[in-house]
Subunit: 427 residues, 2 copies
Amino acid sequence: MTLAPERAAQSGSTTDDANPAVSLSCRHCGATYPLGPQHVCFECFAPLEIAYDEDRLRRVTRASIEAGPQNLWRYVGLLPAGHDPARRVSLGAGFTPLRPAPRLAAELGMKTLWVKDDSANPTHSFKDRVVSVALSAARDLGFTTVACASTGNLAHSVAAHAAHTGLRSIVLVPHDLEDGKTVSTAVYGGTLVAIKGNYDDVNKLCSQLADEYEWAFVNVNVRPFYAEGSKTLGYEVAEQLGWRLPAQVVIPIASGSLLTKVDKAFRELGKLGLVEPTPYKVFGAQAAGCNPVAAAFERGVDTVSPVRPSTIAKSLSIGNPADGPYALDVARRTGGAITDVTDDEIIEGMRLLARTEGIFGETAGGVTVANLRRQLREGLLDPDAETVIYNTGDGLKTLDPLVGIAGPTATIPPTLSAFEAAGLGDD
Amino acid sequence: MTLAPERAAQSGSTTDDANPAVSLSCRHCGATYPLGPQHVCFECFAPLEIAYDEDRLRRVTRASIEAGPQNLWRYVGLLPAGHDPARRVSLGAGFTPLRPAPRLAAELGMKTLWVKDDSANPTHSFKDRVVSVALSAARDLGFTTVACASTGNLAHSVAAHAAHTGLRSIVLVPHDLEDGKTVSTAVYGGTLVAIKGNYDDVNKLCSQLADEYEWAFVNVNVRPFYAEGSKTLGYEVAEQLGWRLPAQVVIPIASGSLLTKVDKAFRELGKLGLVEPTPYKVFGAQAAGCNPVAAAFERGVDTVSPVRPSTIAKSLSIGNPADGPYALDVARRTGGAITDVTDDEIIEGMRLLARTEGIFGETAGGVTVANLRRQLREGLLDPDAETVIYNTGDGLKTLDPLVGIAGPTATIPPTLSAFEAAGLGDD
């Protein structure tokens, strides 16, 4: 792909001194490439990731972070984009609440449990983090059009951030998406293209378009930048615990990227001396209807065999997860585990979190809570060790599975006697 | 109503020294009553409000506020509940972003415009503020059951906060509520009662129940406490502007309570020396389909004549607004105005806010933006004076009016040639 002149000129700015990112590095063969819109290794076709200058990372201190804004950009010194405030894209994502969950802990027989609640982000999912970083990188690299393929959270977030920034956005989705998801993306006024096909068809078309047009596809050609945004979900938990690592974390797995980036964040913080490098265990959570990584963990193999997703947890429905093998590595290295739960258990998990803590997470949150319960039951997870679970999205976005399940206690005429006859009054 | 012994014992705590609230005072005749679960004057049946000890209010400083938590409880020294942390109810509502809105300002020909974005609250509406204060007061007063009548945002918020706190909740709603609103309340596991009747029937039954049972109805018997929670939307804007008042604010009107409380907050801050008491104008925003206060403003009368609501802005559909006359007073005293807009303009307002700033507000947000535009057009509002508009809820909760309006730009087969043939590529 050829850089337009103004792109080539601006792209140099991503290697300026403020930015700790210095190159793209192949996760398989180690080949390096200059920072740019590239996501696979030209040598071995493995995925690329951002490589940092360690001296630049070391400029970051607890104090410099604490003096930053109350959003993910407080960690800009550990990120590959957003260093020039004029090109930083922000709706204020990040620094979401780390909520103590004593009532859920009591119900599960646990000692200390926290919920990292990313439904508090601007468009109510953790995707706002990766989109903030990806769009900032896109501007650093001189792009003026951003694009993505998505079935929900990512589409919403890209459209919102692009509108906020005045970037042109082109979002591609399957044509049979629910009305609600179409509306909450289209309302921002960007280009929304419905594709007569399934998500795989949409994805394939996006790869073709990325070769054809000079657009930043957030989860294709700028994916190495995009994925780094998830590290902030690790940094924040450590800072919010008073600059220390939790003993156990439970994280939902779609592509597996989030789980590997939280682990990366914890290791970075330890290496940089920002926390004591205490041991921690990383647990992964999948739905039984899309469990390629949990199945590989169970079988004790390194290869993740693709599956055809069929679960209510649509935001986790990636049958061939790019970071699956890396997620397996992390769980095994840290002494964690990766398990799965049925759709019924997912719904029960959503209701349990809502009933005990007043947090209505999306289906992915139900997957996490239900797997937490399973991992406790099977003795994989220690009920006495401090645990953080990640709620990555908002229940308002995935109401459908609960319709007909979470409904009125009673339906009555508008009279006091009917109220009492229904047994609703005090005894 | 007789206080149960444990209630009577605990209720004394609301007059402890930490709490600046000292009594309930009639807004019409000035009669005073001890702090308790009472909302109308026994003498003249006018609504009651909280009266404060001014010396206690004066203990609050900018520094004491700034040292507080990043939520509405930083203003506890100016509120009538939540002084005992053990009885404070909080999901972290408040201190929501005050977003600069340069792209919306440019489109409207304005100089400096801000959006106070209360969709960032835990259940994504400003109701989390009043519910936090009402439930804290309910606990101060010894109640263990909380209740409300609602068609949406309030139901969601009461159910969530009650679940979080372990309070029993009883939420009454009309039986023909949308599935989505039923689910997002029922999921928290409290008692949800569907009433075969309209909202007026539900309300009437709640008044009967409040006489019968020792429950705290957040917007009935503890309404004086509840309403004070809205003051925080005034405090926060002043603090976020660097401890000064904006020149103009635009606020949606349902009962009119929010508008009067923002004005009250601005006056309190001036009186307490926390800001310079600079002049400001308060503008109200209604839907043409439920415009009793705007109609009274237009006619130049003091009496608000009830209407039968018929608008897509359901969260503002109060045909007989309790604080309508007080809202009229505020708009007239400050030199503001109260106007209304059609449903088409509301939808256009929602889309304008989303397209320019990446903020997807609920229909009430569309009402505010559309009235801002009208007030500018009619010369009521000064485009050169600093203006803050209030977005009180989240578009995800009111998707229906946009279905069929905000949709895909194009629907195409999954091929590059179809993409190009549809004119979606670069020129």
